[in-house]
Symmetry: D2
């Protein structure tokens, strides 16, 4: 069985280690929080005292998976690996990195003979049980070498119906992992995945808003319709065109709390949604839905509304409208 | 000089009467508020006691301009005129009516021999001094007969530079009034005018928001830029590509109150913006900007944010994200 | 076993009949195409010579399901049923009708004692095997009476994981059919379903466009990335956040024909997408994603591009830009 | 009178020189095209043989205005000036540069004691007669020193009505030039100006498209309305809320060629529209209208429509729809 070094034992990193351990792989792990190391070590991993200890704890050719917040933490860890790893070793960024950073890093490591893989990892908190969808960028050799690791992490074929006409294509894909292409390709595909995710989520959110407003007192009385959103989303899970995991999660949340009262209505965004729009702009591809989904999140957090005040000022200017308070 | 009946003496109706009176035309006016009638009568109009009194006070062929809120008030007044007017008379709806209602009304009045004109009237509170841009739908005869009225209401050529190559076209247009076409054409053109107005306003509002956020503490320190929006909008009035009356109004509002603190950030919408989007949907014409402008107004008033809560619920479902409070 | 009359034996109507027949229900069917009647009769249905024959072939209280194109065909059939059915009978519109038409029809049938149900039916060509997701509007009594029919048509629980916390809620929903609410509620929920469907589809389409453009020669050479869309969509089916039936269909289409060369790039739209936007406008609910998805379809069919020419004209006006041919 | 060096004598650079010459300022000019130099020299400028010649031809403290295409040409010229200019001199980028590049360049020139000004210049081909709207970023000292140059280039107060309540504010603004703020502020304000320009243009374009489609044969006969767009845009110039220079240009183009037949319907975009959207994304400011305007231009050039084909493929997958050819 192969061994993998893992740097960063947050929700994702720890569960990746655990899923590998369950499959019989060895893991040498480190996190700046000793309790996180101890927790994963209790499940069978080898804990290290620092990043260098992870490298030292692996036989060559080594592979070290960095699973840290994007930006400085990941950047620093990859730089440190560049000093610690030997030719033939593999540095992996499994986090949410901007794909152009992968291109730069791979070029920087190449003169040292160190391989670099960028792996977009989808699955969230469900990945430990459900497996992780892996989108991999980099050279073919290290990908081939690490295939057993990817097989263990990916969901496998499971009960998902096979797509017809895939004869002659890589069987890895149906296991749930794909060598997408050159350096950056893994995070590019993950970035677009997340962009699509934003769009699908917003489509569902707008549908719910429309149904919720359908009994608005502003409507004529015989055109007001009240529906139960928990039941509607549940029935959509059954044979409708929009069956999807996001719908499953929505139905589950609504069954638990029909008013979704635990949420404030402000929604965060991670880098991928933004990078997706920037990619659209850079490549001159219209992406109105993905962009609208991102802007809806921005708007959910917008408390200033200065532009809206300017609209009112213009209306007052030409029409003497005074917006009602 | 011609005489015009005017029903409804709100801001628009009263000023239309006054502008006609100044030009030497007679006006027979009525409003359900006797004070409004008295005020316009003090400026030279003939006040009437009711709608029938307006009709009775005019020599035939009569023309009665209804300037009331759209919906029931206008509908009722036009219906009443249908009973009071004689063949050859003209009923005018100068308000903000949905153009399909004009088509219906004109068809209903036609068997009685009563003409119907729909007139989109732009100019707002400035119209008394600046003149009204008139967009007229209906048959050619009553339009021709009322040309002196339209000449008096419209802004006239003024100091606006002439557009080249208009030889052979109606000089009325450069006076500021246009017989746009058949019944409904006046309000259709006004509807689209207002749709464009929404889009232009929102373009300006977004520009202001972008400039205001350019000194966000979330940016790297050397990428934070502070600008004075009152000065920026003023300089844009001078030789830039976006010089416009809406920009004039914005610069004026910002000079008076740079924080626009008298506005709440909630923005109303009248029917035309909505009808414009419905026209886009009905005729399968993409109108992303006009629609986004309408939705921005909807969003400014949206307090519920249920869809946004659903986004948070999905994020919690797949990623264990808890949105920060 | 219950018997159902079915009017209209297109793809949907015929398969609905067949799925009921397989479950042991009787069907009395009619279509204006005798071959369609013969085909379903060969599978066990009772063919009728006309709409009246369907009614005559059923014992009371009858239920007749109309499955015709929306607009005049459905309208006429419902009107005919209003003359043929008896008090206590049920007329069902299972097609894609605008929900406000359901409200009107139910009100028209009520004085005759005839029940009316509007049923949004999702499942498409897969429904025969997969079952139909049924969204039902109308009074509770006829819904309860027809429960065996709905049980037979709906997908049933199948292998879909149960949503937690649904205790105390109707078990019908997990069978795949829901009494959504009053008259119109079924088609309203179906309309919004289709709106969400448009949004999800467009999110996927934009993602594919972005990935396809990622190797654009306009990009710097080291920022061009080539990916295989058939593989990417396949791997997304495995453990990713955007797993969905629409993704399954996309992966399948791309596996079969990676260039999608059999499609022209023009995309039609049915009424629901448009009605969804009109509902958003009418209830002042921002729906930017659902609207953008609809507009993308409009744009795919737009050959005129007059507005775009006007953009070029303005650019030429202020900047002397001549758009490259 | 002050003297200004000008590098780049395209449409903008040459007219800037001419407007300064007309105001009595000296200009030392260079372009890689000797004919361009000769042409401006014929109007009174001092032609130089190369960039160094421009610098040599000026007395200190010098000011050199670079008016070249953004990207490498401008970058190279500024770099060269960094080697040629002396402490106290001013390098000016009057082109369409991304504002972050200004920040970088100013920081690079500062150790050499060379000032840097970024000037967003609006006015296009009309600037020679109409004057240029100048948006200036950089330190206060060189801005103050060059005030006579800016006064000559800007439009001046002209006949534009003064905005009330500007007492105590810089009178330069009403001349048409503004010191917007620190390095980058000039191009930032110009960038947003152009973003707003895109939005306003698209608003007008959509309005025209809607009016043009209003006589679509797909509409019921009594709901088809034909209007003359040249007349409609002309009348909107007179007293309407959307009076604007862009409307003037549109009316002029339509008067000249109502079908706009000289344009293809594909529309280019310069950097500022893209940078505006990227700024929105970076600062989390929703800018749906400015983005939709940019995407409309992208879409106008999009020949591939792969995403649209994927929509058709999904429709075929679930519904058996075959898009009509």
């Amino acid at each position: 069985m192969a061994a993998l070094g893992i740097i960063g034992l947050g929700r994702m990193g720890a569960n990746i280690a655990r899923r590998l351990l369950r499959a019989g792989h060895d893991c040498v792990v480190w996190d700046r929080d000793p309790a996180a190391v101890a927790s994963v070590a209790a499940d069978g991993a080898t804990g290290a005292a620092d990043l260098a200890g992870v490298v030292a704890g692996l036989d060559g050719p080594r592979a070290v998976w960095v699973m840290l917040p994007h930006g400085a933490p990941t950047e620093d860890a990859i730089a440190a690996l560049g000093d610690l790893l030997a030719p033939g070793d593999v540095a992996i960024d499994g986090g949410n990195t901007f794909w152009k950073d992968d291109v730069r890093r791979a070029a920087a490591l190449k003169p040292k003979g160190i391989h670099y893989l960028d792996i977009g990892t989808s699955g969230g908190v469900w990945g430990l049980e459900r497996g992780y969808c892996l989108m991999i960028g980099g050279e073919a050799d290290p990908v081939a070498r690490l295939a057993p690791i990817f097989d263990a992490l990916a969901p496998g074929r499971g009960s998902i119906p096979a797509t017809p006409r895939r004869e002659g294509r890589s069987p890895n894909v149906e296991q749930g992992w794909l060598h997408c292409g050159t350096h950056g390709a893994g995070h590019l595909v993950k970035m677009v995945h997340n962009g699509v995710e934003y769009g699908m989520m917003q489509a569902l959110a707008e549908g719910l808003d429309l149904l919720r407003a359908a009994d608005s007192p502003a409507l004529p009385e015989d055109h007001r319709i009240t529906v139960d959103l928990a039941d509607v989303t549940e029935v959509w899970r059954r044979g409708s065109v929009i069956t999807s995991w996001l719908l499953d999660l929505t139905a589950s949340a609504l069954a638990q709390d029909p008013a979704l009262s635990r949420y404030t209505g402000t929604v965060g965004d991670s880098g991928e949604g933004r990078w997706t729009v920037q990619q659209a702009v850079e490549t001159a591809v219209p992406a109105p839905v993905l962009t609208a989904a991102l802007y809806a999140r921005f708007a959910s957090r917008d408390e200033t509304r200065f532009g809206a005040k300017a609209l009112s000022a213009m209306r007052a200017g030409f029409g003497g409208h005074l917006e009602p308070k």
